[in-house]
């Protein structure tokens, strides 16, 4: 009986990963443009980076403000390796260069990990911040490694490759990234199923108890940190190959903060959470940034909203519905969502308009020029756009207040239905 159960989950796991691999392989056929390939490549890199970050945050309970150190150093090491390959000094094929970045990340992960993980919580967070700022500030002082202001560049059309690809074309780079993304994600998933992965969870939940079952929490954290740094280094290496240039920005506070926020928004409690976060935030970054200055503000608002009201992230929002789907009682809840959608959309539109108008006023060179929103052109000087935006915002908010019981009532009745079904069976 138990063997059957085990093979059923094994089969569904294989099916899940298999379909993910298939999807990843087929995506560029659907989306051929240069922009889409760049977007997909960037998503692939960020997925590895965010998953590696969650090895620390979600699985071991370590909040790091300096994870980009391993990403960046991995990128720089890979770039130097690439240049060595092209100079004929290092006989490595391009496809394996991300591993070089990973190994670089691993070494720094061991060193920094060991000194910083004796305590978790705030001390660890601060040390990670300090180390991050140290490395970022050192980057200008060591130009031979970091390349100073211009950074280090290289040619990804390397002399030695394993496959017949030349890696000049974006789609070839995409497949390289896709391969490493699937491999890294798969390995990181398997890691969660190992003794180390389990004990890391225990150390996260209760480090005191973990030591009273025989584990040195410091060593557990150091190993997790090292492995996380390894994968972050791979992501950095892919970044270097993809963009053919690395500058000191990639070790700094901005990518560190970015991966923190995207992992948290995606959800730290589930393995796929960071994947969601990486996809969403990268999409926002690359697609919205052209459209509006305000995307950074929206990003920040989304982050704070998650912290205040959905600390488990988007993944927890989705998984929350699992018992409803299993019990086949989603219908009522879906109807409630439909009812709420109206007020929420109106509220969003109102707020967005106000924000966009304000940005236009403060950031554009000539505020008197017309701005366009949702395809409509208007002047911020006139009264109409202000009135409309305010009306939408206030109206949406009032409608929201009036209807907010709808969702909680639907959930309540769905929960009751499930209870009834359980007691009946």
């Amino acid at each position: 009986m138990r063997k059957k159960f085990a093979s059923k989950t094994w089969l569904s796991t294989v099916a899940l990963w298999g379909s993910a691999a298939l999807l990843v392989a087929l995506l560029p056929i659907a989306f051929r443009s240069g922009f889409m390939l760049t977007l997909l490549s960037e998503i692939g890199i960020m997925v590895i980076f965010a998953l590696s970050y969650n090895m620390l945050l979600g699985q071991t309970g370590l909040l790091s403000f300096g994870h980009a150190v391993y990403f960046g150093l991995g990128g720089f090491i890979t770039m130097h390796a690439l240049n060595f390959v092209n100079d004929g000094v290092l006989p490595l094929p391009l496809e394996l260069l991300p591993v070089v970045g990973g190994l670089g990340g691993l070494i720094f992960g061991i060193v920094f990990g060991y000194v910083s993980t004796r305590r978790a919580g705030t001390p660890f967070a601060l040390i990670s911040l300090g180390i991050g700022e140290l490395i970022a500030a050192s980057s200008l002082m060591l130009p031979s490694f970091f390349g100073g202001e211009q950074g280090i560049s290289g040619d990804r059309m390397a002399e030695i490759t394993l496959t017949p690809f030349g890696f000049g074309q974006k789609i070839e780079v995409y497949y390289l990234i896709a391969f490493w993304m699937l491999a890294s994600a798969g390995l990181m998933y398997l890691l969660t199923q190992t003794p180390l992965g389990r004990v890391a969870n225990a150390v996260r939940d209760n480090p005191e108890r973990a030591s009273f079952v025989g584990y040195n929490a410091h060593i557990v954290r150091t190993i997790q940190c090292s492995l996380a740094a390894f994968f972050a280094g791979i992501a950095g290496g892919l970044f270097a190959i993809s963009y053919e240039i690395v500058t000191s920005e990639i070790v700094g506070a901005i990518p560190s903060g970015n991966v923190l926020m995207m992992t948290y928004i995606g959800g730290t409690g589930f393995f796929f959470g960071p994947i969601l976060g990486a996809i969403l935030i990268t999409l926002m970054e690359l697609m919205l940034a052209h459209v509006t200055h305000a995307w950074v503000l929206y990003y920040g608002l989304m982050f704070i909203a998650m912290i205040l009201w959905v600390p488990g992230g988007m993944a927890s929002l989705i998984m929350m519905h699992k018992p409803l789907i299993k019990g086949r009682v989603m219908g009522g809840v879906l109807k409630a969502y439909a009812v709420m959608a109206g007020p929420v959309i109106i509220l969003f539109m109102g707020c967005m308009s106000l924000i966009e108008i304000l940005y236009h006023l403060s950031l554009s060179i000539k505020p008197e020029d017309p701005m366009s929103l949702f395809g409509i052109e208007f002047y911020v000087q006139s009264l109409a756009p202000w009135v409309i935006s305010l009306a939408l915002t206030i109206g949406g908010f009032l409608l929201f207040l009036k209807n907010r019981q709808v969702v909680s009532r639907a959930w309540q009745s769905a929960a009751n239905q499930i209870k009834q079904k359980e007691s009946a069976s």
């Binding site: 000194v115 305590r119 967070a125 040390i127 180390i131 130009p143 503000l297 912290i307 304000l358």
Partner: protein, 322 residues
Amino acid sequence: MKGNDMVEYIVFSLLNGLLYGMLLFMLSSGLTLIFSMMGVLNFAHASFYMLGAYFAFQISAWVGFWPALIVAPLLIGVLGALVERFGLRTVHKYGHVAELLFTVGLAFLIEEAVILIWGRNAMDYRVPELLDVPLLTLWATDFSMYRGFMLLVAVCMFVALFLVLTRTRIGLIIQAALTHPQGVSTLGHNVPAVFMLVFGGGCALAGMAGVIGGNYFLTDPGMARMLGPIVFVVVVVGGMGSLTGAFVASLLLGTIQTFAVGLEVSLTDLFALFGASPDFESGILKDLFRIQISHTGPILPYVFMVLMLIFRPKGLMGTRET
């Protein structure tokens, strides 16, 4: 450097370092109080400093500097109290990590809001004309009256803080919470109200630092990002929970950084003093030897912080580790 130049350099570095240190203390004292009382490391603390500068700039533009000096910190204090009441309190039940992340998000948002309202360029927030005169002139350089004013405000604030903490009832409660936060709540004091007061007060202090520092240094959207980490260093090095430690660390860090910035000496120069000239072809060693002390200014605080956290997490004078 010639003898006279050397003395001048030392004196001015000391004065400037002292000033910078006092500013750091205004910031770190609020942070220490908040951290000790509530266990929250307020990542957005330097953001309230920035808001203080911007509010003061705006109010100065409307009614002048002197009203701004009083009104801006009060506004910031109220804002801080609201943030505590509606933000931190909601997140408190999710644990320390969530509280820390909330303040990170807050810092992010405040920076964006500032850009939204005032734009990306630095604001022309000026020293009031009344004080823009030299107080004393040492050697060839002026020491402006405004610097003296800044010192005065900082000292007054320090004295006021000291009096509140040692002579008032609320101050005694806060002192107790600095070292034994759990004990305070079991004694039956209205802890949420005290939290709101302390958070608001700490932010008001930061805001005040912004009011007097913003027109002296630069007022632009990046000021929080630049100063924030240094304030953490001060709190860590001085010792979590120790106001005196924060004071000592502020002055120490302020003076060391100010001194370092003027010393254009590198290891190569040092070796040259002894007649040796190490020659590296290229690479990291060569870079290391050419680093001038003046370049290390930005990283010195972090070196201190990391070393301190590794070897002596209690800091110089702290009584608690977390």
